[in-house]
Symmetry: C2
Subunit: 354 residues, 2 copies
């Protein structure tokens, strides 16, 4: 189907077409658990330099593929490039996570928010996509990605990470119109951003809704899912006659899986709290599922990993429509050999289900 | 029914018996958002002194009741009194949350774990229960509580709070038998502890499973719910001919609500992520529900609080079986007037549903 991709198992699984085995990749597969990543990161001087250099972003994107026979590559970047492009001034304080120099604090700041020019502010991302795609040379498909508007807005209003989302939720409850303005501008930006990634060569796209699970049922639908739906409606569905599948991942979103499956996406990402067999019963006739091993399983042994992989595969059952993944990004404290054991186990054990 | 309790609305709601309005209390209602609490806490010198003094624990337990017409009191204490009684050495590093001097690190330490003598190690808790019950003089019922074995084990193995539960989950996946030993000894301790609280005067009991939501579906059932079930089977069900209702609250446990409702509890606590009307459809014929306003709503205005309360009451619908509460403990940054607005709104708006 994708004549340019030698191994298109991942893309076929997302479209629920037959595959020979269950494909897999790992969220944050290019990350600190790999010594080769740490070496490049050190050379870059900072995480942001790494994101902003297409050469180095390409290098680290390919590192996990050189180590493990993964079925997809994912653009190395950060979800916060968008608010940075909007002028909020992203920086990383050592050991403190991402911060913004100019978080949204006043009504005037919120009303001044506008869709940035993607080419001039985020060209380094699309350059990285083109270069990675070239370097991959069709080995596996390349995933582009974005944060969800709600998740980006959390950072933009809080000014960094948060335990309780007090600032952004206070805004949401007290000034819903202002909150909707932030989300609306952000969603419009995301559409252009993802379409630029697709234009540059991304073959699938994923929306990371990392903080949607912090919302109530009603607030999730109004302030997070509605904007992901708008994005899915606006994103390029096909390029050169080839379908570009989309994945929505709301961490902690298992309760809302039916709504997510109706959002217009091709696949739903699952964290490890929901049984994937139950998820398949609920929505498997409509979307593919991606997940969902607890990343802490990788702190155990190859034997335990083998058993836990088998449990997930058995729970999903026979047939296509499953992309194996962790339920969250791989921890920096993971032994790379255990990541290798995971990849081997999925490839070996899944054949009998296809 | 409870002739000793002037206002037994809370107990009737837990047993799904008719009430005139929806009763409410707030998790962490005796807490830092109240200046009178902060004054007592300061006088105590430390949080642990406050927990260990029956006089001062009684004082702070009653403070929110003197301010607001709440429908239940909850023992002022901490879930970590149990591991402390087991010899792990609980302390609170200023601004850092709870810590243990002697966390469980080795197989020998785990195997040495034993059920402590409740009277000699936790007498200060049962003394507080007796004294609070006397001071309440039948105003409202008194809730006793415990942490769940899984949640206590998280602290016991991690040595304090954790973001990713890496240590305790590694133990769980690598050495399940050792994990089960910790949970088993802890569950047996909890049974004796809750029964001592009931003997001293607790009129309902609640199990706080704060970290059950960090587990996978399978691990939750095996390592958290199974031990809460054992506790529910072992806890005193009736005292002096009066039923002692039990509440199980797994934060992030909405996906497992059917299993929780089958655990032997009378009521299920809900965080704010699940719509309470959906929860009622799933399990309302079997258990009462307690919840579930997002505590950050209290950062808004009385008008917004009023509207959000109405939405929850409307979603639950007509009839008994609902105890209103927050979906998590009230934040220290809450304006007490907004807590008052919540209490007034629930009492006023709920009458039409009864």
């Amino acid at each position: 189907m994708n004549f340019k991709v030698k191994n298109d198992t991942f893309l076929r699984a997302l479209l629920r077409q037959p595959t020979e085995y269950t494909p897999l990749w790992m969220m944050r597969q290019a990350g600190r658990y790999l010594p080769e990543y740490c070496a490049t990161r050190k050379r870059a001087g900072s995480f942001l330099n790494l994101c902003k250099s297409p050469d180095m972003a390409t290098e680290v994107t390919l590192q996990p593929l050189d180590r493990f026979p993964l079925d997809a590559a994912i653009l190395f970047s950060d979800i916060l490039t968008i608010p940075d492009a909007m002028g909020l001034g992203l920086y990383f304080a050592e050991g403190e996570g991402p911060k913004f120099e100019r978080p949204l604090r006043t009504e005037a700041e919120i009303k001044a928010l506008a869709v940035p020019d993607i080419a001039s502010t985020l060209g380094y991302v699309t350059d990285a996509v083109s270069q990675i795609r070239k370097s991959l040379d069709g080995r596996v498909p390349l995933i582009g990605f974005t944060g969800s508007p709600w998740t980006l807005a959390c950072y933009m209003v809080e000014g960094g990470s948060s335990d309780d989302y007090a600032k952004v939720k206070t805004l949401m409850y007290k000034e819903p119109a202002l909150m909707h303005h932030i989300l609306s501008v952000t969603a419009d930006t995301v559409i252009q951003y993802l379409n630029a990634q697709i234009e540059a060569g991304a073959q699938a796209v994923m929306i990371f809704d990392s903080w949607g699970g912090a919302l109530s049922h009603a607030a999730y639908h109004e302030f997070s899912l509605a904007y992901m739906q708008r994005i899915l409606a606006g994103v390029t569905k096909e390029k050169d006659g080839v379908r570009i599948p989309s994945i929505v991942f709301t961490k902690g979103g298992g309760l809302w899986i039916e709504s997510i499956a109706n959002s217009g996406c091709d696949a739903v990402g699952l964290d490890w709290t929901m049984d994937i067999g139950i998820a398949r019963q609920k929505v498997g006739h409509k979307v593919a599922l991606q997940g969902n091993l607890d990343p802490t399983v990788l702190f155990s042994t190859p034997e335990v990993i083998h058993n836990e992989v088998e449990k997930i595969l058995a729970s999903y059952g026979f047939g296509s429509g499953h992309v194996f993944n962790l339920g969250h990004g791989i921890s920096q404290f993971t032994n790379p050999d255990n990541a290798g054991a995971l990849v081997a186990a999925v490839h070996e054990l899944s054949r009998k289900y296809h």
